[in-house]
Subunit: 199 residues, 2 copies
């Protein structure tokens, strides 16, 4: 009788290996061979779980997005409004090693999606999911009177999306400048600004 | 007597061709062969001007940065402070076809620099140059009393850098959402916010 393999678990192992390779050496280095080696599987096993490199990349991106969303939902379980928005933004930023690798996967994916309409579509769908999430927190904050009555919520969503993207990028390119502390400081200044308009 | 070739001009032509290939098909497609074909030169001519693909990429990125800076200096020649900052930010954003390609080159370069310390160093140096430029406008604005006396200028520089990065990315990934008009709107809201604190 063949050994029963946990498919989801093995896919996850391969994606974890993919993340490590991308973080260490960039997307070009994340060949099927390098990923298989890092994961400790044969290339044959890999091709059983993924159709090609693009499939691995898309899956790695989706996993990054799902992980961030799950962390955000856990972190904000007992809070609402601006407090929850703050916790959520901190979960989305590269403040620790795990999230730093997540940001690297995301930025690699982003670079790769220039000139690739399929990958841009995947990224665009992730943005849609993020926007709904941020909008939920902003709606709560507005309902609780934490924002100005005339706060332009869709524009604030764009601000939050932009902030998370840009702090992640600066943390990757200039880790000495955009430290975790500095990221938190900029988030707090942003939240102060959108709250200040409420008075 | 051999024909005298304008080296700078020919390098520029090759980089223009590189930009068009990256914008159309992504960085992976920007092989020496594809760039040579697009430029209408032989691969031999290309290797005369550039040592390898990475050299072409670095040169394309530096040219993008230099072009943006030159446009900014021209656009702000007759203005100062927040007015100049606004004009400068608009020059840095992908509001027309030329600048859209510039943003695509920049985002491709960014993705490629994950896991490549050399490319990250180039990108980091560009950030330094940008920060000095933005800081100059903010210093003028502060000196003219257009910002709050306690405005945190280095943090505002980070905000501007972040804004330009993130609007460029969203314009590439979601051009239907992050239209040129929408980018201008978000810049104006940002400038209103930093000016509002002055009162």
């Amino acid at each position: 009788m063949p050994k029963i393999v946990d498919h989801a678990e093995r896919r996850r192992e391969v994606l974890d290996a993919t993340w490590r390779v991308i973080a260490r050496a960039g997307l070009d280095a994340a060949t099927t061979r390098a990923i298989a080696e890092e994961a400790g599987y044969s290339i044959g096993v890999l091709t059983h779980y993924f159709s090609d490199k693009q499939d691995i990349l898309v899956s790695a991106h989706r996993l990054a997005f799902a992980r961030a969303r799950d962390r955000i939902l856990v972190a904000t379980r007992d809070s609402a409004g601006v407090t929850a928005l703050r916790l959520a933004m901190l979960e989305a930023l590269p403040l620790d090693d795990e999230r730093f690798v997540e940001a690297q996967v995301d930025v690699s994916f982003l670079g790769q999606s220039v000139g690739n309409a399929y990958l841009r579509g995947i990224r665009s769908a992730s943005y849609e999911g993020s926007r709904r999430l941020w909008r939920g927190f902003l709606d709560q904050a507005a309902a609780a009177g934490e924002l100005a009555e005339d706060a332009d919520l869709p524009r604030l969503v764009d601000d939050v999306v932009g902030m998370v993207d840009s702090l992640s990028i600066q943390a990757i390119v200039d880790p000495g400048h955009m430290t975790p502390d500095h990221q938190v400081l900029l988030v707090d200044r942003f939240l102060e600004r959108i709250a200040r308009t409420a008075r």
